[in-house]
Each structure stands twice: as structure tokens, then as C-alpha cells.
């Protein structure tokens, strides 16, 4: 179907290839993650199947708990209640004929508010004897195996319970009498149930056609629910693992656009109204913070923004940052010691971080122990000793290319030095220095507080030595130049803090503030958080 294709394409293009790289099993895409990107499943898991516990006993589950069938109470003599004969006849007569036979099942988890728009589809495999089926939502806590007549009815018959029934097409909202809502449904139909967590409304679809809003003012934390009532009724469920019949992407787009308009048109109080000024200030401080010195100067000339920091100080930070980003951590440490004496001594954690990185860069071949060897600029790697000299130079060349492409314009790729082959004795010496450095590093770690973070950092770094080709190893990610950025940021922040300035730039503070607000919204069941796409807003 055409619609499905476009939906797939939209989802596929919206999320970059980075995601699939990070995923362990990149061949099986989790469609649910794509549908509900803002849901943190560690906090609020998505419904992915029917619950084997939260159901009435007349309900049977199969096919990964996605197929629901009505098995009733006649699944064997053991299930029949022990009753006198006449009562038993009455029981059997009633069985499957009255509402008392209705039985429901809830999904494993309630719908997270951060879905924004939640949707699932149920295909009627068989309408069974009478087709008394209900599809909808219900709150947690209704005991589905209560006394007959109270709690085990199809959705829509209990408190905080909402359902659309197949036999009459009515909608039921926590009551015994339904409202005319839509067409009836039967074998072969696909019924969809959508929850708009921004407006707190619920709608249904039949075979991909929107039937209109059924319920308004829904409470939070509802579970997808189906109820069956007569023998032979079987339904299959799609919680989003498969493409939907209905074009849900179209509605998602609408809500995203709506949220964006709401953000754009949000009225601002007058006293905070000087936006041009505020934005210029943010840009300027960002540039200064990260040491984009000449850009910051040009920007300040154009907009008349004052720069609070001494230009020489910015240039110094820029120099140190460049060294770290080029992988020349040893030099960076030395420079820092010279320019800001006492800084690293006061912050052993930072020093440890830098030294760890320095070790990694030594493996990488981009750093040598700066104190002794920095002057002759020979880059060394262990690899040349493990019998694969060419591999090393290849690795470095690739790094240089990546650096050129991935870095900000202001940071010209640092020269990697001449990688001419050093003679064997010098190489051996440098390896020994590296091992000595490692021992020093270990001794240093012993003095620090023994937390998991430091420990695993050191372990990861040392693990590089265990592989003949560390670039291709499971710990090879450490060698990627992009890993230098975090170290660079930490050093930069520490320098700024020591100079009595803010350790993070206002832009970044603003972004992380917004991000944590979104998390709070998600916890407070405000569905609009699903559609505030922070990175898209920033990209504008």
C-alpha cells in the first residue's frame, strides 16, 4: 500500500544512520522506538504484548501473547465449578450467553504519556459465535477475575474503562449503556484504537478509516485492553511492531506541526522581550566559551556584544583545546600546568581523565610522553611492535581524514607530525615509556576514590593493549577522535571555573534545561512533550 511506504520513508529519513550504528542488532529495527522516540523505556516501558497475569481466566493468549482467544470456562472438567446438578445446568446455560461471560485482558504496561499519540490495531481473526468483542482502554486495578457482574466485562463497562463494541458499533464509557458511535465490526476487519495524549481523547479506525473521536477527557495511565464474550472469538494485535493499516504518521505530523506552532507563538512577557539582545549574548558567550576566538571577535564587532574575557585568555584556552582535540594530550597537560599553575593539582579527577586519554592516544600513535619526547615529535604506537607496522600508519591516516571532516571550522585539523618510521630502538623505548606511563596511571588511580567510573575507564584504556589491532577491537571506540571532545570540554570547563567564570555556556545550559523539562513533562503525563523535537528546533 502506498501510504505505508511513505510512512516508512518518513521514519527512516527522520532518524539518522547514527542510531542504527549504535544499536546492537542493527538489522531488526524496533518500529516502536521510531514511533515513540521520546519514550524512555527504562522509566515507562511501552505495551508490547498482552499481559499473561492481568487477565480473566476465560482469556487465552498465544503467538507471543499477541493473539487473544476466548476459551471460556469449559476448557475441561476441572474448570467447572462444583455445583449441584441443576445449578450446574444453569451455569452452563448462562455460560457464553450473558455479560457475566465477558472477559478482558490488559497490555503489559500502561501507555506512556511521552508517546504523545499512541495507537494499536486489532485484527478480528474470527468473530466466533456472536462477535461480542470490545476494544479499548482501561485503568489499572480493576480485578478482572472478580465476582461475575462487576469487574470482568469488556472494556467500556467499568470505571475508567473505554471500549468500542463490534456487535452494535456503540462506544461504552464506564457504563452499561453505549452511545451510537461507528459501524459494527466482524471477521476480517482491522480496528485501530488511538489515544491522543495531548488532548486526552481517544479515536478508533476501521480498516484504516478514521471514525472520529469516541472519548474525551481520558485519565492518564490507561492500558490497551480487549474483551471477548463468546466462544470462538479470536483477535490478533499489532502494538506497532508491524506497519499499521491506518496512516498514523499523518496524525503524528499534524501534532508535531501543532506543537511547533504553539512553541513559536508562545507569548513572551515584556520584561524578557529583548530577544535579539538575548540571542546575541547567547551566541557570543557560546563562541567565547569554546574558544572560537576570532569568530567571537568578529561577532562582537558586528553586534556590539562585549566580551567578558581577556582575548589572550581565550586564545590560551583555544590552544589547549586544539591540542586535546588533536590527540596531543601530553602537550595539553604541560601547557595547562604552565598557564594555569595549580589547576590540575587541585583537580585530580580531571588530571586522571586527561592522563587516561593520553594513554589512549599513545596507543593511537598520536601522542608520545610529552615531557621527554614531545620535542622530537615522533609519533609512536605499540602496533609497530606487534608486527603490523602498516596498519598503524593506515589508522592514523584515517583519523586525520575524519578529523578534517568532523571538526568545527575554527579548529583546523592539527598536524599529526611526520610519521616517518622511527628506528626500532626508539620504538622499543617508547613502548617501555608507555608501560611505565601505564603503571604511573595505575598508581594514580589507587590514590583516587575507587568508584566504578574511574575503574572502568582505566580498564577500558588498558584493554586496548590486549589486541593486536586495537582499532578493530571491541574497545576500539576509545580511539575515535570524537571521544576527545568530552575530555576537551571537561578541561575547558575546569579552566573557566578556575578563572571565576561559568563552567558551561548559557546555550548549553538552556538546552539541557529544556531537555530536563521535557523529561518532567513526560513524568507529569503531559503528552505534548512527545512532539517538542529539541534538536529540530535548535537546527532551525
Amino acid at each position: 500500500m502506498k501510504l505505508r511506504k511513505s510512512e516508512m520513508a518518513a521514519i527512516g529519513s527522520g532518524r539518522g544512520t547514527m542510531d542504527s550504528q549504535n544499536q546492537v542488532q542493527s538489522d531488526t529495527v524496533d518500529r516502536l522506538k521510531l514511533l515513540y522516540p521520546n519514550v524512555n523505556e527504562e522509566e515507562t516501558p511501552l505495551p508490547r504484548a498482552w499481559s499473561t497475569k492481568d487477565k480473566f481466566s476465560y482469556i487465552g493468549l498465544s503467538q507471543n501473547n499477541l493473539r487473544v482467544h476466548y476459551k471460556g470456562g469449559t476448557q475441561g472438567p476441572g474448570r467447572r465449578p462444583h455445583l449441584p446438578y441443576l445449578h450446574l445446568r444453569l451455569w452452563m446455560y448462562r455460560h457464553g450467553k450473558t455479560h457475566r461471560d465477558a472477559a478482558s485482558v490488559r497490555a503489559t504496561h500502561p501507555i506512556p504519556a511521552a508517546c504523545g499519540l499512541y495507537y494499536f490495531e486489532v485484527r478480528i481473526v474470527s468473530k466466533g459465535r456472536d462477535g461480542y468483542m470490545g476494544i479499548g482502554l482501561s485503568a489499572h486495578g480493576v480485578n478482572m477475575n472478580r465476582l461475575p457482574g462487576v469487574g470482568r466485562f469488556p472494556p467500556g463497562w467499568d470505571k475508567h474503562s473505554y471500549g468500542y463494541h463490534g456487535d452494535d458499533g456503540h462506544s461504552f464509557c464506564s457504563s452499561g449503556t453505549g452511545q451510537p458511535y461507528g459501524p459494527t465490526f466482524t471477521t476480517g476487519d482491522v480496528i485501530g484504537c488511538g489515544v491522543n495524549l495531548v488532548d486526552n481523547t481517544c479515536f478508533y479506525t476501521k480498516n484504516g478509516h478514521h471514525l472520529g473521536i469516541a472519548f474525551r477527557g481520558l485519565p492518564p495511565n490507561l492500558y490497551p485492553t480487549v474483551g471477548l464474550q463468546t466462544p470462538g472469538e479470536v483477535v490478533d494485535t499489532n502494538f506497532g511492531q508491524q506497519p499499521f493499516v491506518f496512516d498514523i504518521e499523518d496524525m503524528l505530523k499534524e501534532l508535531r506541526a501543532r506543537t511547533r506552532v504553539a512553541i513559536d507563538e508562545f507569548p513572551l512577557p515584556d520584561e524578557q522581550g529583548q530577544w535579539q539582545q538575548v540571542l546575541h549574548r547567547m551566541v557570543s558567550t557560546y563562541l567565547v566559551h569554546h574558544g572560537y576566538c576570532s569568530t567571537a571577535q568578529a561577532f562582537s564587532r558586528a553586534t556590539g556584544q562585549p566580551i567578558d574575557e581577556d582575548i589572550a585568555s581565550i586564545k590560551n584556552r583555544q590552544r589547549v583545546s586544539k591540542l586535546v582535540l588533536a590527540g596531543r594530550v601530553g602537550e595539553a597537560v604541560e601547557t595547562t600546568r604552565r598557564l594555569w599553575p595549580g589547576l590540575l593539582e587541585r583537580d585530580p579527577d580531571l588530571l586522571f581523565l586527561l592522563k587516561c586519554r593520553q594513554f589512549v592516544e599513545m596507543v593511537n600513535g598520536t601522542d608520545c610522553e610529552a615531557s621527554e619526547d614531545g620535542a622530537n615529535g615522533v609519533a609512536t604506537s605499540v602496533i609497530s611492535h606487534t608486527g603490523r607496522p602498516h596498519k598503524r600508519s593506515n589508522g592514523v591516516a584515517a583519523d586525520a581524514a575524519e578529523e578534517g571532516g568532523g571538526r568545527d571550522v575554527d579548529m583546523a585539523p592539527a598536524a599529526n607530525g611526520d610519521h616517518e618510521e622511527a628506528d626500532a630502538s626508539s620504538q622499543r623505548a617508547s613502548v617501555e615509556r608507555m608501560l611505565a606511563f601505564g603503571r604511573e596511571l595505575y598508581a594514580m588511580s589507587q590514590k583516587l576514590s575507587q568508584d566504578l567510573y574511574h575503574k572502568s575507564m582505566l580498564e577500558d584504556a588498558f584493554s586496548l593493549l590486549a589486541y593486536s589491532n586495537p582499532w578493530d577491537s571491541p574497545v576500539g571506540w576509545q580511539l575515535e577522535p570524537v571521544r576527545r571532545e568530552a575530555v576537551c570540554d571537561a578541561l575547558n570547563s575546569a579552566i573557566l571555573e578556575s578563572q571565576g567564570m561559568q563552567w558551561s555556556s548559557p546555550v548549553e545550559a538552556c538546552v539541557s534545561h529544556a531537555r530536563s523539562l521535557l523529561r518532567r513533562m513526560s513524568r507529569a503525563a503531559l503528552g505534548a512533550c512527545a512532539f517538542a523535537d529539541l534538536s529540530a528546533l535548535l537546527a532551525r
Binding site: K2, G208, H209, H210, L211, G212, K253, E254
Partner: protein, 659 residues
């Protein structure tokens, strides 16, 4: 004070207006700029300048190719500014030939120039006036090709202007075909592309969508071309499909759904095409909901009415889509005539074929009251739409018996039809009347009292065959199992002359219904004799006219059935027996190759020979003499008439003395 400023304006303007006519180009230029600046944004200044007779000079400055291009440009911009004034301003501009002058100019000005853009802009303003001077733009292929080239390649402003002009201009088949030949489809398609991540702009998309809709409307050829026109990797329907999605501006979605609808109705897309079923239809149903503005809802209902007019599956789908019924019922409550009209039309379309949908419509809360109110609406468009709705609903037998009676819908309907209605209203109204007059309808009696017979008889005299048909059809329905006085009244009112005129009607359906009326009039025995005693010669003559004339078999069958009915009358039998001509024809028809005529003739013969009635023996004798008996025996022996054998046997059994 006021007077003083007016005086000042005229005084100050006079000097530079004089300089417009100067031969010094510099002075003319200065005057033009002053004039342009003075009229921008001021309708009063525009009117004043026009009344001073400057327009012809401006047109001259604009069109003169030998002049400095800057002068021409300033003159054109000034004209464009004047064209943004009041409707009166535009009218006087049109009178002075501005539209023609602009079109002439467009033939020669270089594409992509500022001058072309200014001219198009002015022309667009003039064409947005109603009525637009469409005649100023001839269907000249060279000109149109040039315009569509602008629409494809020029600046954004020029493209939008030219497309808007063409959209207004395209009002008939000739224009549709001409524009298609000139390549307007691909020009429109190019405008429909929304680059990813950009906000779709209605000012760019709407004119292109309007042009496309105007071109495809009821034109299968153009629609087919549009279907196969592609821009980039997408065909026009695919581009439209992108535009009906929920994140697009409502007016864009509405116009895109309209284009898809027109493509479907013009036969380019099947009714079950996914772009109709999952694109246009749900979009329109969504636009009808309460959240939207009244004009969007009104237009959406109107388009949806057109989309669902004929196809039953689309009607069923629309009926369950997004609570359409209650949305429409709510639109009926809106104040504007357009909204009421749209909603009634949509109800009419939805209820056209399916009984269940009619039931849903009727059960929609309070709808019938609105329909009745709609019939009384002073706006003829609304009352017409209400009648259409009523007509659709009147196809339901159940409604005729219950709801219609409860609301006495016939009253306002009769009033509308008696109140010099327009041809369209008369047509739909009389069709509705036809249904209301069916035998089981309780509205029949009161309608008679309101002069229904006279009105219907008048309808049969109309020049429009559809109206004649409705009139005679309604009379036929009315006469079915009616009381004798009603029948007398019909006969009396219609008159024998009109009866014969209708039998000679050019439309066979009218003749059929006329004969049907006669059959219904000549039903039960007492009625037959009573009517025949008065109208025997006319009726017999009518029957003979039909039997002898060159009519199709089903018409002759009706005539024979009338004869059969007459043969059922007690005294009327003799009228047939006395007419040897008719009897000989009867023998011929018994041997007719057309089996339904044989059957009808058999029915006549059977009635005439029926035993146990006075004079049966004599009739049997006479019929046997004329060869009826022989014809019947032949019929019994015939293999082709096997299905008639039972009836033949019954008839022959009456003749037992002769067999």
C-alpha cells in the same frame, strides 16, 4: 478643513498630471513616479486619478514599445496599483481596455523582465474582480504557450500571478483543452512541489490547485493528461496526496482534495483508488468537523457532496468517516447560506442509494426540522439544496410513511413548486413529488387538496422532457389505486388533447408513463366502466394510435395491457368487441415474435373470453370466428411460448364448447 485638503490634492496633482502628457521623457518619468506614490494605498486617490482621465495615457505609456523601458515599467506599476482599488475602479479600468492592453503587452515583453512581472501582477488584480474580463484573453495558442512558459520558468511572483489569471480564465471546455495543449498541467505540477522541511505556502499552492481543478472539472481528456503529468519523481495525484495530509494548511488540503475529487469524477481515478479512499475523502470529512472555520467546512461539504454523488461505496465510506453525519448536521446550523447549501447537498449525495445511510441521516438529531426550515429559506440555493436532500431521502419507503408525514414536508415543497420556481428546483422538486405521491404515502391526500393535480398537469406541458416525465410519472403514481373522484379529476384536468400530445412525445419514457397512467386509471371494474362511459372513444383511439404506430415493443405492451384492463370492465368489453380492427390486431399480436407482446395479448383475450359473465358465449363465438381460437391453439403447440402454456390452457378452457 476637509474641503481644503481635497482642494489641495487636486491642485497639487494637476501639475504633475499635466506633465504626464509632456514630450520630455524626464518630466514624464517624474510625473509617473509622483502619480504612483500618490495612489499607493489610497482608494480615494485612485478614484480621483481615474476620474481625471489619466488611464488612457497610462495605457499608452505602458504599451508604447519605443519608449524608455523604465517609463513603461512605472506606468504598468501604476496601472497595477489602480487595479488594487475598489470594484468600481477596476470596472472603469476594464472599460478603458486595460485588460486587453496588458494581454497585448504580454505577447511581446521579454520573459523574466520586471515589466512582465508588473503586467502580470496588474492583470491578476483585474482578474480577481468579478466578473473577470475573460474575453480580453483569447484562446490563442502562441499566447497561452508563452503564459505557461512564464508559469514554469519565471520569478515566483510572476508564476503565481499568471497561474491565478489562468485559473480564473479557465471556465469552459475550450479553455481547458487549450491550456492543456499549452502545457499548463506540468506548470501547475511544478508549483505543487513542497520542498522537504519547508513550510508549505498557501499563496503559492492555492492558485496552482485552483488552476488544476478548473482544468479537470468534468473534462475526462484533461483529467487523463493531469493523471499522467509528472514533476520530478511524482505524478500529479501523488503530489496532491502529499498536500491533503494533516500537517498542511487547511485551505491547501481542501483545494488538493478538490483536485483529487475532480480527477475522480472526470474518470481519471477509479472510486476505490487509495488516493481517493485514504486521501481526498478522509481529508474532506476532517475539514467538515467542528474545529474548522465555517467557510472551510462549507466548501469541504460541497466538494464531498460532489465526490460522493454517484458511487455507493464512497457514500458508505463517507457515512462512517469521522462523525460526518453530526458534522454536517452542525454545518446546517451555521448562519451562512453557503454552509447550509453544502451540508444539504452532502446529505443528498450520501443518501442517494443506500437505505441504511438514509436511516442514519434521518436519525441524526433534529435534522428533519432543518430540512423543512431549509425548504423555507429565502435563498434559492439553500432551498434547492434542501429539496435535493429531501429527494434523496424520499427514495426510502420507510421515511415516506413516517418521518415525512410527521414533519408534513409536502407543505413547504408544494409551496416552493407553486411559487414560480427555477428549472432546476422544479426538476428536483417534482421528482420528490413523484416519490411523495406513491400509493402508500400518507401525504397523498393533503397534497391533492393543495392543487397537486393541476400543478402536475401543467408540468406535463413543459418544454423540458425531464419535467414532462416527472409530471406524468407523478400523475401515474397518484392514480395508482386512487379513488374514482381523484381519477376523474386527473382526466378532467389533463384533458384528452394533452393526453394525445403526450402519446406522441419525443421521449419514450413519457409515453410509457402516460400509458401507465391510463392503466392505473382503468383499474378496478367499477372505475373502468365509469371512465369508459365518458372517455371510451378517446381511450380506444389512444390505444389504436399506439398499436398502429411505430413504437417500441414495451410501449405497445402497455397499450395491450390497457386493452386488457378495459376487457375486464363489464360494459367496456363491448367496446372492444365492437371494434373489429382491434380484434384483428389482437390475433396478430398473439402470433407476434415478441413474447411479452404475446403475453399481453393473451391477457386481453383471456379477459374477453372469461366464462360466467353476460354475453360470454357470443364473445367466444365472435373471437373464434376471427381466429383467436386458432391463434391460441398455435400458441399452445409452440415451443417458444412454453412459459405461457398455463395461461394459454386457462384461456382455451374457457372455450370448452369449441374445443
Amino acid at each position: 478643513m476637509q474641503q481644503f485638503t481635497v482642494f489641495m490634492d487636486i491642485e497639487s496633482s494637476r501639475s504633475y498630471i499635466d506633465e504626464l502628457y509632456s514630450s520630455d521623457a524626464v518630466k514624464v518619468m517624474e510625473a509617473l513616479v509622483t502619480l504612483k506614490n500618490s495612489v499607493i494605498g489610497s482608494n480615494r486617490q485612485k478614484s480621483s486619478v481615474i476620474s481625471q482621465g489619466v488611464v488612457p495615457r497610462l495605457l499608452q505609456l505602458m504599451s508604447e514599445e519605443s519608449l524608455d523601458p523604465n517609463i513603461r515599467l512605472e506606468a504598468t506599476i501604476t496601472i497595477g496599483s489602480l487595479a488594487k482599488g475598489t470594484p468600481e475602479n477596476i470596472e472603469s479600468l476594464i472599460e478603458k481596455g486595460t485588460a486587453t492592453a496588458l494581454v497585448e503587452m504580454l505577447k511581446t515583453v521579454p520573459l523574466g523582465s520586471k515589466l512582465a512581472e508588473a503586467a502580470l501582477c496588474a492583470l491578476r488584480s483585474i482578474f480577481s474582480h468579478k466578473p473577470a474580463p475573460v474575453d480580453a484573453l483569447p484562446a490563442d495558442m502562441r499566447l497561452l504557450t508563452r503564459l505557461t512558459q512564464i508559469a514554469r520558468e519565471d520569478s515566483q511572483e510572476a508564476r503565481t500571478s499568471v497561474i491565478r489569471v489562468l485559473a480564473v480564465w479557465c471556465s469552459g471546455t475550450v479553455e481547458q483543452e487549450a491550456l492543456t495543449c499549452a502545457g499548463a498541467c506540468s506548470a501547475a505540477a511544478a508549483m505543487l512541489v513542497v520542498p522537504p522541511r519547508s513550510v508549505p505556502s498557501p499563496s503559492r499552492l492555492v492558485p496552482a490547485l485552483e488552476l488544476l481543478a478548473a482544468m479537470c472539472f468534468k473534462n475526462p481528456n484533461v483529467a487523463q493528461v493531469a493523471l499522467n503529468t509528472r514533476h520530478g519523481d511524482k505524478s500529479i495525484p501523488e503530489l496532491l496526496m502529499c498536500l491533503v495530509s494533516r500537517d498542511k494548511p487547511l485551505v491547501v488540503a481542501l483545494k488538493a482534495a478538490k483536485c483529487l475529487t475532480f480527477l475522480q469524477r472526470a474518470g481519471a481515478l477509479p472510486a476505490d483508488d487509495s488516493r481517493i479512499v485514504f486521501g481526498a475523502l478522509p481529508c474532506l470529512a476532517r475539514l467538515c468537523t467542528k474545529e474548522n472555520t465555517e467557510d472551510i467546512r462549507a466548501s469541504a461539504a460541497e466538494v464531498l457532496a460532489y465526490l460522493t454523488e454517484v458511487d455507493t461505496s464512497l457514500q458508505r465510506l463517507a457515512a462512517i468517516s469521522n462523525h460526518l453525519m453530526s458534522s454536517l448536521a452542525d454545518i446546517v446550523n451555521c448562519q451562512s447560506a453557503a454552509a447550509k447549501q453544502g451540508a444539504f447537498k452532502c446529505f443528498a449525495s450520501l443518501g442517494a442509494n443506500d437505505e441504511d445511510i438514509r436511516k442514519m441521516i434521518i436519525e441524526t438529531h433534529g435534522l428533519m426540522v432543518h430540512v423543512v426550515n431549509g425548504l423555507n429559506n429565502p435563498d434559492p440555493c439553500v432551498s434547492l439544496a434542501a429539496v435535493r436532500c429531501l429527494h434523496s431521502l424520499s427514495r426510502s419507503v420507510q421515511q415516506l410513511r413516517t418521518t415525512f408525514q410527521d414533519h408534513a414536508v409536502w407543505k413547504p415543497l408544494m409551496q416552493l413548486l407553486n411559487d414560480s420556481p427555477g428549472p432546476e428546483l422544479l426538476n428536483v422538486g417534482s421528482s420528490t413529488l413523484c416519490n411523495l405521491l406513491l400509493e402508500f404515502s400518507p401525504a397523498k391526500e393533503p397534497m391533492l387538496d393543495q392543487g397537486a393535480v393541476e400543478m402536475l398537469c401543467n408540468l406535463t406541458k413543459m418544454s423540458d422532457p425531464a419535467l414532462r416525465l416527472n409530471g406524468i410519472w407523478a400523475l401515474m403514481n397518484m392514480a395508482f389505486q386512487a379513488e374514482q373522484k381523484v381519477k376523474q379529476r386527473i382526466l378532467c384536468c389533463l384533458g384528452t388533447e394533452q393526453m394525445f400530445r403526450l402519446l406522441g412525445d419525443s421521449d419514450t419514457r413519457v409515453i410509457m408513463k402516460m400509458l401507465g397512467l391510463l392503466r392505473n386509471l382503468l383499474s378496478t371494474r367499477q372505475h373502468i366502466d365509469a371512465i369508459m362511459s365518458e372517455y371510451s372513444s378517446q381511450v380506444m383511439q389512444a390505444v389504436i394510435v399506439v398499436l398502429e404506430g411505430s413504437y417500441p415493443a414495451e410501449v405497445k405492451e402497455q397499450a395491450l395491457c390497457i386493452l386488457g384492463n378495459i376487457g375486464d370492465g363489464e360494459k367496456s368489453k363491448d367496446l372492444i368487441m365492437a371494434n373489429e380492427d382491434v380484434l384483428r390486431k389482437l390475433v396478430d399480436y398473439l402470433a407476434h415474435p415478441e413474447s411479452k407482446l404475446q403475453e399481453a395479448a393473451l391477457f386481453v383475450a383471456g379477459n374477453l373470453v372469461w366464462r360466467g359473465e353476460a354475453g360470454a358465449a357470443a364473445r367466444q363465438q365472435r373471437l373464434a370466428d376471427l381466429g383467436v381460437l386458432r391463434a391460441l391453439k398455435l400458441l399452445r403447440a409452440s415451443h417458444h411460448a412454453a412459459h405461457l402454456h398455463d395461461k394459454v390452457k386457462t384461456a382455451l378452457a374457457q372455450f370448452n364448447e369449441f374445443t
